[in-house]
């Protein structure tokens, strides 16, 4: 009896105390009863929480009765339950097909997809893994509306240019790229398999990043472990080979000889080939230069988490040889990634990460006059690779730049090694229920070591690549930067109706670095093994000759505030203001203010649409803001003596002090005013997903380095024009994306996604004097072919318009010609202004490197254990300048020359061949080609072994796959690769023997255990 009384009393006591705090346990499962591990359980308005374990069980202790528990997990609709007692809970979570709760990273925080009022696109890790890119940018191509990727080179480790919603500045138009909050300039250092997702902010809502956001912001999140996750190990590997997509058809030895003979005769010289029958096909130089090159990648990742912590470690190794040059053009990358997150002391959260990466890159001369491919195209097919003595054949008579490309490859020795260490650490503190204070620090440290050895070589008389004296160059550059962010957030949901989010923060960014290098001569035995500065003669420090300081120090200081409000999740509004100060500008204009705002309306939550059978989700949104750009060289607001002033006294070099670029103390922020109106829609039970955006971006106060009067002294060595704010560029366009995912039956699921971007680019004004900026190069000694000029797209091509070929002398006499040497068989240049002479005034726009529209299509199919995916993208309306023809007396030519004019009526498309003086080499639309293309970028077929196969082993997943990239390109362009472009806003789209993107065939495996 006393026992029972005691028990009753104890119960009461327990009950009394528990009336304040109880413990809850339960299980979480999906709609089919399968437990879900790793679900995040949070006690609302605190950081207290838990994670479900491998069997879906969870426990939350010390819980106040009446508090709310939220259950969230990616891919499932977040659930909320109010705790009324200590009963065992069974929580059923529903799959979120609409993915409306999908988290979108938006800058110093995140929102759900439903809440987002800006134009944000997401590329998930699933897509990235399917594409198997060696570089991240390849994973963005054709995936996201509004994002256009051009490869600067297909060589291993080659750079790419990302442009978001058009080219909006003539300077640096790269977007801001952040990896876990860390600023990254070069994406080749990132391993694609480490990426969780990529979020791209395309409109004014990127304004929270203030300066540098004008070109869009790419936010990359890397994979980490999760709490309550047992250790999983993932191993991915692939290997295969690459080959060129095409060889440009050029003349064989016999065709070549016929043409050369004809040209010499026309020019009044003796034809050099007397017996054509012995020539046969000759040497196919491209065939000799291209090879099949291997590529291999291994990646291993460890992930796991305990109750309060999570961790991950991954290591990967990539090696890729080049299709031109093999190992002389290869790229190796070795990365290590470590991350660790910890919740401690109830209210604190720690995140930390460390990356160590090493790359090594070798490359050959590419996309330039005299590059390896340029030489392979122009080399005479009548020459064998080696002569009778076994030496590489000399390119006799082919001008001063063309040399034997195989000799050139053999004689190229260069190597660039990068070691990079990056880290981040963040601390967040929850207090007073609704406040979070957070501070993060990120840093990068890189060392770039380059070495170039140029041996003594002689390629024939007069060749510009001849070297009498061997040379070695060793360079060592240091780059350091750090970013420090601190902010306070207030989040509150009042009465369950008003959702408020306020953020106040500051950010500090500093980047410094140093460039050093030395050049030495006379390498012993002319051998690579002896090539080092330590053993060379006449060593000179490269900084001494340049007269300028080899370090840089550039900083940004910002303050920002954001307020977001939504009413019942239906009416959304958000505003941002940011104040940035940059070291790039002088005291007059150092600071700028960048406001932006956005609104949204979830129309599908309204009563009139809530029960619609057709429309499941409809959101309208708009944003407007002012973003800034400060990407110009340092210290242009002050006049410095960093020019070059060198003379010779007593036969020695004397280094003096000379003015550098002309200063402009008035330079200020480039301002971009950007408007976006968008629509997100889902219908047919979330099967169809549509996003439409209209945007207009107007960049004012464009920072340009214009032409200025030479009487200012800009022609002196090391000097140059000032940076001025003088120009307006507008990009107006439209994005459309549609996706359909469905299942035909239980075994067959598929999804199709299509996106289209159409952009109209126009320069509205460019610094008034002279009215244009020239750029690019064509031929030898000719005027620059590209311009930035009011009324035209940026970087448009300007030259003569042609109108066929003169068929007879009478036709020549009857029309205006450029000089009196024009004869029958030459190109007809149009007298555009009808003034009877062909001159500068007759040059007009003959093309533009900017596409009118780009689109991408993605298809994926899942049938039982098989998965299939295909990705294609297309670009329409961009033009490319054909500039890989040397046009010398004895250089080879493309096969379109077989259609040349040889007499009246024989051709109206290709001019006559002659060694005599003629104007057919002047830049005209004869050299501008349509670069539109459709490319099947990736096809992949995979097979996942069923879980039963590995029931008794530790393996949880094994997938084998075969994939092919860049397997088909449909284009009219005659060059190697229509995606060729240097990426320069003025001067891009000119092909000088662009290293093509290879076709790759891979076999791979994903293993998880």
């Amino acid at each position: 009896m006393r026992h029972t009384l005691f028990k009753i009393l104890a119960l009461f006591f327990v009950a009394y105390t528990s009336a304040q705090n109880i413990d809850i346990s339960g299980i979480i499962q999906d709609e089919s009863g399968i437990p879900i591990p790793g679900v995040n359980i949070l006690v609302k308005n605190t950081t207290k929480g838990s994670v479900s374990d491998f069997d879906g069980n969870f426990t939350v202790t010390n819980l106040q009765v009446g508090s709310t528990l939220t259950f969230s997990f990616i891919g499932y609709i977040t659930k909320e339950l109010v705790v009324t007692n200590a009963d065992y809970l069974t929580v059923t979570m529903q799959e979120d097909i609409a993915k409306l709760d999908e988290v979108v990273v938006i800058g110093y925080g995140s929102q759900t997809k439903k809440e987002v009022t800006g134009a944000v696109s997401i590329v998930s890790s699933k897509t990235i893994e399917a594409l198997k890119p060696t570089r991240i940018e390849q994973a963005l191509q054709g995936q996201v509306a509004g994002v256009n990727i051009t490869t600067q080179s297909g060589s291993p480790g080659g750079a790419t240019t990302i442009s978001i919603r058009g080219v909006s500045t003539n300077g640096d138009s790269r977007p801001l790229i952040l990896v876990d909050g860390n600023v990254i300039e070069d994406l080749s250092v990132l391993n694609p398999s480490d990426i969780e997702n990529i979020n791209i902010l395309k409109d004014a809502t990127a304004g929270i990043y203030g300066v540098r956001a004008a070109n869009g912001v790419v936010l990359i999140t890397t994979k980490t472990g999760r709490k309550e996750m047992p250790l999983t190990i993932e191993y991915n590997t692939y290997g295969g080979f690459q080959q060129t997509t095409r060889e440009i058809p050029v003349l064989n030895a016999t065709e070549y000889a016929i043409l050369v003979n004809e040209a010499f005769a026309a020019g009044g010289s003796t034809p050099p080939f007397t017996d054509l029958s012995i020539l046969g096909k000759g040497t196919d130089w491209q065939d000799k230069v291209f090879q099949n090159a291997p590529v291999f990648n291994h990646n291993i990742a460890f992930k796991g988490g305990g109750k309060k912590s999570s961790y991950s470690y991954s290591a990967s190794f990539l090696t890729q040889d080049g299709i031109v040059g093999g190992s002389k053009s290869n790229f190796n990358r070795f990365t290590n990634n470590l991350s660790y997150n910890l919740d401690f002391l109830d209210h604190f959260k720690l995140t930390s990460g460390l990356t160590l990466m090493r790359t090594q890159k070798r490359n050959l001369s590419e996309n330039a006059l005299g590059s390896v491919l340029f030489n392979a195209l122009n080399m005479a097919p009548t020459f064998p690779v080696r002569d009778e003595n076994g030496q590489y054949t000399i390119a006799e008579g082919l001008g001063n730049e063309v040399i034997n490309p195989l000799a050139q490859t053999d004689d190229t020795f260069n190597r660039s090694k990068v070691m990079r260490l990056s880290g981040n650490a963040g601390l967040s503190y929850n207090f007073l229920d609704h406040f979070t204070a957070q501070a993060n620090i990120q840093f990068n440290y890189s060392e770039v070591r380059s070495k170039v050895f140029s041996p003594i070589v002689n390629y024939g008389s007069g060749k510009v690549f001849n070297k009498d004296r061997s040379e070695v160059f060793e360079g060592l550059d240091y780059f350091r930067d750090y970013t420090f962010d601190a902010f306070i957030k207030y989040e509150n949901k009042i009465n369950d109706i008003h959702n408020i989010n306020v953020l106040l923060g500051t950010s500090v960014f500093k980047t410094t670095g140093e460039f050093t290098g030395a050049k030495g001569f006379d390498i012993k035995d002319n051998k690579l093994i002896n090539a080092s500065i330590a053993e060379a003669n006449d060593v000179e420090n490269i900084n001494r000759a340049l007269g300028r300081n080899p370090t840089f120090d550039s900083r940004l200081l910002s303050y920002f505030a954001r307020a977001q409000y939504d009413y019942k999740g239906k009416y959304l509004i958000s505003g941002v203001i940011r104040r940035d100060g940059s070291t790039k500008f002088g005291p007059a204009n150092k600071f700028g203010y960048f406001p932006s705002g956005s609104i949204g309306w979830v129309a599908s939550d309204e009563s009139f649409l809530e029960n619609s059978a057709m429309i499941d989700f409809l959101k309208l949104r708009a944003s407007y803001g002012v973003l800034g750009n400060d990407r110009i060289p340092d210290f242009r607001f002050v006049s410095l003596l960093n020019g070059e002033g060198t003379y010779i006294f007593n036969d020695q070099l004397s280094f003096g002090s000379a003015a550098g670029a002309v200063a402009n103390p008035e330079i200020r922020w480039e301002k971009q005013k950007t408007l976006d109106i968008g629509l997100d829609m889902r219908f047919l039970k979330n099967k169809i997903d549509v996003t439409v955006d209209y945007f207009k971006k107007r960049t004012e106060d464009l920072l340009v380095i214009p032409q200025v009067s030479a009487i200012l002294g800009i022609g002196a060595p090391g000097s140059g024009p000032p940076v001025v704010n003088a120009g307006v560029v507008e990009n107006e366009g439209f994005e459309f994306a549609i996706g359909y995912s469905g299942a035909i039956n239980d075994n067959l699921k598929f999804s199709v996604k299509y996106n289209l971007t159409a952009i109209d680019n126009e320069v509205l004004s460019v610094s008034s004097d002279g009215g244009f900026l020239p750029g690019g190069s064509f031929g030898v000694g000719q005027d620059p072919p590209s311009r930035m000029e009011a009324g035209f797209p940026i970087g448009y091509f300007r030259g003569f318009k042609t109108n066929g070929i003169y068929q007879n002398q009478a036709q020549v006499d009857a029309s205006a010609t450029i000089n009196d040497r024009v004869q029958a068989g030459d190109l007809i240049f149009e007298d555009v202004n009808n003034d009877g002479i062909i001159d500068e005034e007759d040059k007009v726009q003959i093309g533009s490197p900017i596409p009118e529209a780009t689109m991408g299509i993605n298809l994926s199919l899942d049938y039982k254990n098989f998965d299939f995916s295909a990705y294609a993208f297309a670009s329409v309306g961009n033009e490319i300048v054909r500039n890989y023809e040397r046009n010398q007396d004895l250089t080879n030519k493309s096969i379109y020359f077989l259609d040349r004019w040889t007499g009246q009526g024989t051709s109206n498309s290709s001019p006559r061949v002659t060694t005599g003086a003629n104007s057919n080499n002047l830049f005209s639309d004869f050299y501008v080609e349509d670069g539109s293309f459709v490319r099947l970028q990736n096809v992949q077929l995979g097979y996942t072994f069923s879980k039963d196969a590995f029931k008794n082993s530790k393996i949880s997943k094994l997938r084998l796959y075969a994939s092919a990239s860049n397997i088909l390109t449909l284009t009219k362009y005659r060059g190697y690769d229509p995606t060729a472009s240097s990426g320069a806003p003025i001067g891009g789209g000119i092909d000088q023997g662009f290293y093509p993107n290879p076709q790759t065939f891979l076999l791979g495996a994903n293993l998880k255990f």
């Binding site: 510009v464 100060g581 210290f635 002033g645 006294f649 002090s657 000379a658 009067s709 022609g715 005599g916």
Partner: protein
Amino acid sequence: MKNLKLKNIAIALLLFVSCSDDFVNVDSQDQNSEDFFNSEQDYQKALIAAYDGLQSTYLNVMLGEIASDNTLSGGESATDVIGFQEIDDMIHTPNNANLRDLWSWMYGAVNRANFILEFQDKTDFSNKNNVIGQAKFLRAYYYFELVKWFGDVPFAVDKRIQFGDQFSIDRTPKAEIYAQMEEDLLFAAENLPYVQSEKGRVTKGAAQALLGKVYLFQDKFSEAASVLEDVINNGPYDLLTDYSTMFENDNENNIESVFEVQYSDLEGAGFGCLQCSEGNVAVGFNGIRNYTGPIFDSGFSFNVPTQEVVDEFEDGDVRKDVAILDIEAWASANSATFGVGFEHTGYFNRKYIARKGDLNTGDANLTNPNNYRAIRFADVLLMASEALNRGAISDTRALTYLNRVRSRATLPSVSFTGSNLTNAIYHERRVELVGEGHRFFDLVRTGRAAQEIDGFVSGKHEVFPIPLIEIQLSGNRWAQNPGY
């Protein structure tokens, strides 16, 4: 509870640290140009930079020959450096890229000289007049080029032309510019020694010789004769006895050299910045196309002498084989091979073509170390002779100087007077100075250009057009030279 709240806020604020606005005030590591000239060393460094502009005058030298009847443009083809081809044929327009380079490089150099003179009163030191004298010579040299090529040009004295000035500065009549040149050169002549400590620096003799030339160009014969005879009688110069060594790389800065532009092969160069090269770019451009053989090296076969100038040499003139290389004869005698470029005449400008033996630092065609003998004593003698003759001062002394030049060339003396002597002097100037960039302006200033140069139009081609883009970039306020 309250304590807890305060503690929370305190911790939060601790995390919220930042920097003051000064964080983005960073000073450059490089010297600010407005804070310079604080010691003699500063002046000397700025002076070196002012000399640098001399090296880009290779273009003036080349074009001075191509524009005249001495040479043809040459090159690889009719479109190889279109600007050169047009000037050769007297069909050049205000859109000529090479004339724009010339204008641009000379103004770059003028501003460097004016930079020193703008701050000439800032700091005192013992050597100052020597430095200022050199700076003034250089300014005069560069303005002389601008005036010769373009006539009336924008003029700034003792201050740089700054960003914004280009919209208010006008073309100054050349008489005014000549007057300043004379003043500058007189100062230099007074304050510089005949011999400087370093080879390559401006000397008293150089200043006087240039002054004489400047007078001669204005037909100021007695002033010219007076200052040139001062050089002849008091300067440390003489004619080199062995003419064959005059232009060789192992006989630079010799006794006949009154002013020599220095070049070297110690530094690399590229086509991206021809004015930056420390080598003589003209030498590579003039060189023999695709040459293999002894003594010489390859080049781009520009600026090729005509048969007419070869025929101008008298028999027995030792200067002919030093000035002109007959490539066909040379090749067969020395088993050498060569390529044939555009407008191949069979001759090359032997004084200034590439030779073997230099370091061939990359780009070898742009780093030839051949110094440019800007003013030779022979030129001084001939200018004096011309001034004395045309100014009707003393045909006797004119003859003495003329015959000195002729006898060095192992030619017999002459005894002309009056206009016959004038013509003899003109002929002598042509053969003595062929290939050195003087011919075009000698013809123009003596009124003979129209009859000697094909396509030359009087009243137009005496000066070259101001680059159209330069007129536009300065606010479209300048009139163009007549006829263009």
